[in-house]
């Protein structure tokens, strides 16, 4: 039957992938980006994403404009200026690269989140994994005790637009995030309520029944449940959960990050990458400043600035910055003036670590109000390819989705990626 043979082909294809599919440019650049130390050892790379949900205003943060509401201040790198609400980041400018020419095509929150986190457009219900799941699958260790993708809720300060996060799609439920609702509490209910022998007996009885059920009923929901259950059991047995205990950190370090939810989330992120978590998302909600960014961004930066600076300083001091890519971004920027509107045409993302060439700005917006990119536009595809390269991920790697469609990790269908070569 035609139908059967097609399925067979797809199964063969699925078995054959993921196959390495390295495009030409990747080969050329791979050498510099390869995650290897001098002695040829694989580096354990990780990524911390500081996600400013709602769309942070670039002209109130990293792209000051003459006559703007916030003054520009000098930084540790002569010639680079940022807004005066970021004094601590400014002192560490040698470790940051400012991408001022982000230029993307989606203006609505959910669609833009999808676009920036997956590089694909959200059309027709097609599902693609977000960066966190990609890093979890491609960089993370497959036998880690902690999930490779942890998402921390770093609180809200401003307009609530809701948490939107694409699912792990074809990468499978193992690459869904462990969501930490409150960084101070970490993961609750980790201690078994019965003695370990009893728990082991119960788990054995359960596992046998689950195997039988899994054979009887093919259900993606049941599969996802079993996957998460196994992960939860592993987590309970792991000594690495001590990473969640922020109190074991010296007071001076906790103070440097800030005794607030965002600071604690950044500190937890550092502790998690140190025990091998490959992707940590620190999600801060409230940057959708429709009433104007001027009165609000400064207040937020009072804790975002020291935490972000402390994170990078701390990673550097502990020798982890080389192996950790830190990203600060939202789903778009905000319109010239007071930032009341969403603005995908010209906005800023900031990178640090992972051996990138930092202490520079890349791309420019116009002098007048910064509404347009005048030099080196960076699309979502360019951006994702850049992040992949920094983390040693092949962005052209091919997968086959549940629907039998071949896809690449980064959307190569719409445009050829042009990663930011200045960073490498």
């Amino acid at each position: 039957m035609k139908f059967d043979s097609r399925r067979k082909l797809l199964r063969l294809a699925a078995a054959a992938v993921p196959a390495a599919g390295i495009s030409g440019w990747f080969h050329k650049l791979a050498k510099t980006a390869r995650a290897e130390t001098t002695d040829g050892q694989q580096r354990d790379l990780s990524c911390i994403l500081l996600w400013m949900n709602g769309g942070p205003s670039q002209q109130h943060t990293f792209d000051p404009k003459p006559g703007g509401a916030y003054k520009a201040i000098s930084t540790a790198i002569p010639g680079i200026q940022v807004c005066d609400c970021l004094p601590r980041v400014a002192q560490n400018m040698q470790d940051f690269a400012i991408l001022r020419s982000m230029s993307t095509a989606e203006i609505e929150h959910e669609r833009a989140c999808f676009l920036l986190q997956t590089s694909y457009q959200q059309i027709g219900g097609a599902e693609y994994p977000p960066l966190g799941s990609v890093v979890s699958a491609e960089v993370g260790s497959s036998d880690a005790f902690l999930p490779n993708y942890v998402a921390i809720d770093a609180g809200r300060d401003g307009r609530y637009i809701g948490t939107y996060r694409p699912g792990p799609a074809y990468l499978g439920p193992r690459h869904a995030p462990l969501i930490v609702d409150d960084p101070a509490k970490g993961v609750e209910n980790l201690k078994p309520a019965v003695d370990p022998r009893q728990l082991a007996d119960r788990a054995k009885l359960l596992a046998k029944a689950e195997r039988a059920f899994g054979q009887r009923l093919k259900s993606s929901a049941a599969f996802a449940h079993r996957t998460a259950f196994t992960q939860a059991l592993r987590l309970m047995q792991s000594s690495q959960v001590r990473a969640f205990d922020l109190d074991s950190e010296p007071t001076s370090i906790r103070d440097a990050y800030g005794n607030n939810r965002f600071g604690r989330a950044c500190l937890l992120a550092r502790r998690l990458v140190e025990v091998g978590v490959s992707f940590v998302e620190v999600r801060h909600e409230g940057w959708d400043d429709h009433s104007g960014a001027t009165p609000l961004v400064r207040g937020r930066c009072e804790y975002v600035d020291p935490a972000m600076a402390a994170l990078v300083e701390d990673l550097k001091r502990r020798g982890r910055l080389e192996n950790t890519l830190v990203i600060w971004m939202g789903e778009f920027g905000r319109a010239p003036g007071d930032g009341k509107n969403h603005w995908p045409n010209a906005w800023t993302a900031v990178l640090s670590g992972a051996g990138l060439k930092t202490g520079q700005t890349i791309g420019r917006t116009d002098k007048k109000d910064g509404g347009e990119v005048v030099d080196r536009p960076i699309s979502e595809i360019d951006f994702m390819a850049t992040v992949c390269q920094a983390l040693g991920i092949d962005p052209a790697k091919k997968y086959v989705t549940g629907g039998g469609r071949p896809v690449t990790l980064v959307d190569y269908q719409r445009a050829d990626p042009n990663p930011v070569a200045e960073l490498f």
């Binding site: 039957m1 035609k2 139908f3 399925r7 797809l10 699925a14 203006i107 609505e108 059309i123 027709g124 219900g125 097609a126 599902e127 809200r156 307009r159 809701g162 699912g167 792990p168 799609a169 439920p173 869904a176 995030p177 462990l178 969501i179 930490v180 609702d181 993961v187 609750e188 209910n189 980790l190 309520a193 019965v194 007996d201 119960r202 009885l205 359960l206 029944a209 689950e210 039988a212 899994g214 009923l217 093919k218 259900s219 993606s220 929901a221 049941a222 599969f223 996802a224 449940h225 998460a228 259950f229 939860a232 987590l235 309970m236 429709h290 509107n341 989705t401 549940g402 629907g403 039998g404």
Partner: protein, 583 residues
């Protein structure tokens, strides 16, 4: 004041109005035969048969064999979960299995539709859709009033159009008319109603439209101009909220039409085009809307939304009821309906439908396949079926229980979740049942049924004056919050909970305490086999198979006490994937 300019009332141009917001150009709801007895068994049977015929046609075109009907165990559990939001008790299951009458399935459906849990279950779903914005408010209202109001309305089976009109035109205090809470919640952080947010939400929930883009600019895909959107929003421009008056005394009022206040809205600065433009309350595809002599702006809007010419109203609700029964809509996403862009149905909808044939094969273990042609906007998987259900709903006077009875009586709904080998990869042609994951309320209510007594209190703690800022949520509400991981309107066939939720089920003290069900078994001195069978019936609505039984007996024997043994079996049952899905 009322406009005195020449206006074109919708009725003055019936043809044009019929084209308005409709997918094809004829009006049908009005033509429904009047006076049909609701719940007529013959009518239910014939509608169920039509559902099966339309689903069957697509299956045979795709050469997919359909699974046989679910057995009685699967059926009784599914019916309880779908219609009352909880698993059956052991007595319910035993009673159903022992009943030998041929019509026992439809009798069970009718019994469950008459259960008070029915209203609560549907109220849970709509409560979530109508609220869920409490996060945005400094001092949110107590939405339990709204939940109770919805429960009563669904249990009384009030017709859907009347219920929606009540919500849209709600006035009075939160205590007197809890539907007003919808307006308070769709406001800014202080609860001042925002007409654009209300219009976008109402469009989404009651018409299945995605209007949010049109707030800021013309919507390219859906033929919505920005001015049309704000014209709709302006119907809510006179809604006032009293501000916080202390609990249930907060009120919503609409300034009457006689007042001098203009029925217009200015497009705000946060938009991209036409900023500052004053837009009058105007129904789509009319040059102007005559509101002379009408009760209120909102009543004009409510008449338009629920009126017989607005086919999207019935289609949306039919689609949502279908999604309730199957975990996914015939139209996905649920707010994927369009005006104008929708083509009239072709004569043979099977011939050129993009989803016919074997295009939709997906490995169920690797997530959902693409649910539509990637390049085109969403379209229903079974357009004729959607049409049939919408007609039936409208013809019955928007009788939700009637439509549920028709769907649950169909073979399509009663099929086994076990796919036949050739249909394994089918995910939306309904060759077999796709399991639905328990929502938070279903999980809590089912755990409670299984547990045999109250598990988590719904009693909110008293205000602690030393810590006045502590949120006053009950343990039950905390549980619901923890397990609420699926976005509104998402497909319920996806499992989106994860490690924190499973750790709660595995290790929380409350689920590791001595359970009333095990206490009962110990008191009754049942032997291990009988006790295990009882636990299986309680949790999974089925008896254990031989292997399960002997494994469980071995386990119980290996524990120190019978109590530990049976609590252990109970633990393995509610931590199974089989427990948390309605299959």
């Amino acid at each position: 004041m009322h406009s005195t300019a020449r206006r074109r009332a919708p009725s003055s141009n019936p043809f044009r109005y019929a084209c308005l917001l409709v997918l094809c150009g004829f009006s049908w709801a009005i033509a429904a035969p009047a006076g049909r007895a609701l719940g007529d068994p013959g009518r239910v049977r014939s509608t169920a048969e039509q559902i099966d015929r339309l689903v069957g046609q697509r299956l045979s075109t795709a050469q997919l064999p359909a699974s046989p009907l679910a057995d009685d165990c699967e059926f009784v559990r599914r019916a309880f979960l779908c219609l009352t939001g909880r698993i059956p008790t052991v007595d319910d299951t035993r009673g159903f299995l022992e009943d030998l009458a041929a019509d026992k399935r439809i009798r069970l459906i009718d019994r469950l539709l008459a259960s008070p849990h029915y209203g609560k279950h549907f109220a849970n779903g709509w409560h979530r859709l109508l609220t869920g914005r409490e996060f945005a408010m400094a001092r949110p209202p107590d939405t339990r009033l709204l939940a109770d109001w919805l429960t009563t309305a669904f249990n009384e089976n009030r017709s859907w159009d009347e219920l929606v009109k009540d919500i849209i035109t709600a006035e009075g205090t939160h205590g007197e008319q809890p539907a007003t809470i919808f307006f308070t919640l769709h406001g800014n952080s202080r609860g001042i109603p925002e007409p654009n947010v209300i219009a976008a939400t109402a469009g989404k929930l009651f018409l299945g439209l995605d209007l949010e883009c049109a707030e800021c600019h013309d919507h390219p895909f859906q033929n919505w101009s920005q001015r049309e959107f704000w014209g709709l929003a302006a119907f809510f421009s006179r809604v006032k909220d009293s501000g916080n008056k202390g609990g249930a005394k907060r009120w919503i009022k609409e300034t009457p039409l006689e007042s001098r206040e203009p029925a217009t809205l200015a497009i705000p600065e946060s938009s991209f085009t036409n900023v500052g433009m004053e837009v009058a309350a105007r129904l789509p595809d009319t040059d102007e809307t005559d509101v002379t002599g009408r009760k209120s702006l909102r009543s004009v809007y409510a008449e338009w939304m629920t009126g017989g010419d607005n086919r999207l109203f019935a289609q949306n609700m039919a689609n949502r009821i279908w999604a309730h029964c199957f975990g996914r809509g015939l139209m996905n996403p649920l707010n994927g309906f369009r005006r104008g862009g929708g083509k009239p149905l072709p004569d043979d909808p099977l011939s050129d439908h993009p989803l016919s044939g074997d295009l939709l094969l997906g490995d169920p273990l690797l997530g959902d396949p693409l649910s539509g042609d990637e390049a085109s906007p969403p379209s229903p998987t079974h357009p004729e079926l959607l049409e049939l259900l919408a007609r039936e709903l409208a013809a019955s006077g928007f009788d939700q229980k009637h439509l549920l009875r028709c769907i649950c009586a169909s073979e399509t709904w009663q099929r086994s979740s076990q796919p036949l080998p050739a249909s394994q990869d089918d995910s939306d042609l309904y060759s077999h049942r796709t399991p639905i994951v328990f929502g938070p309320e279903m999980l809590l209510d089912s755990l409670t049924v299984f547990w045999g007594g109250e598990l988590l209190s719904s009693q909110r703690p008293k205000m602690d004056f030393r810590n006045p800022l502590l949120p006053l949520v009950s343990p039950g509400e905390e549980f619901l919050r923890l397990f609420r991981t699926l976005p509104k309107d998402a497909k319920r066939t996806r499992y989106t909970q994860g490690i924190p939720q499973l750790l709660f089920l595995m290790n929380s003290l409350v689920l590791n305490a001595e359970s009333p069900i095990v206490s009962g078994l110990l008191e009754s001195n049942s032997n291990a086999q009988d006790a295990i069978e009882h636990l299986y019936l309680a949790a999974l609505s089925r008896r254990p198979d031989d292997e399960e039984l002997s494994d469980a007996v071995d386990f119980v024997v290996g524990q120190k006490t019978s109590r530990e043994g049976l609590e252990g079996v109970l633990w393995t049952l509610f931590n199974r994937s089989e427990f948390i899905i309605n299959h």
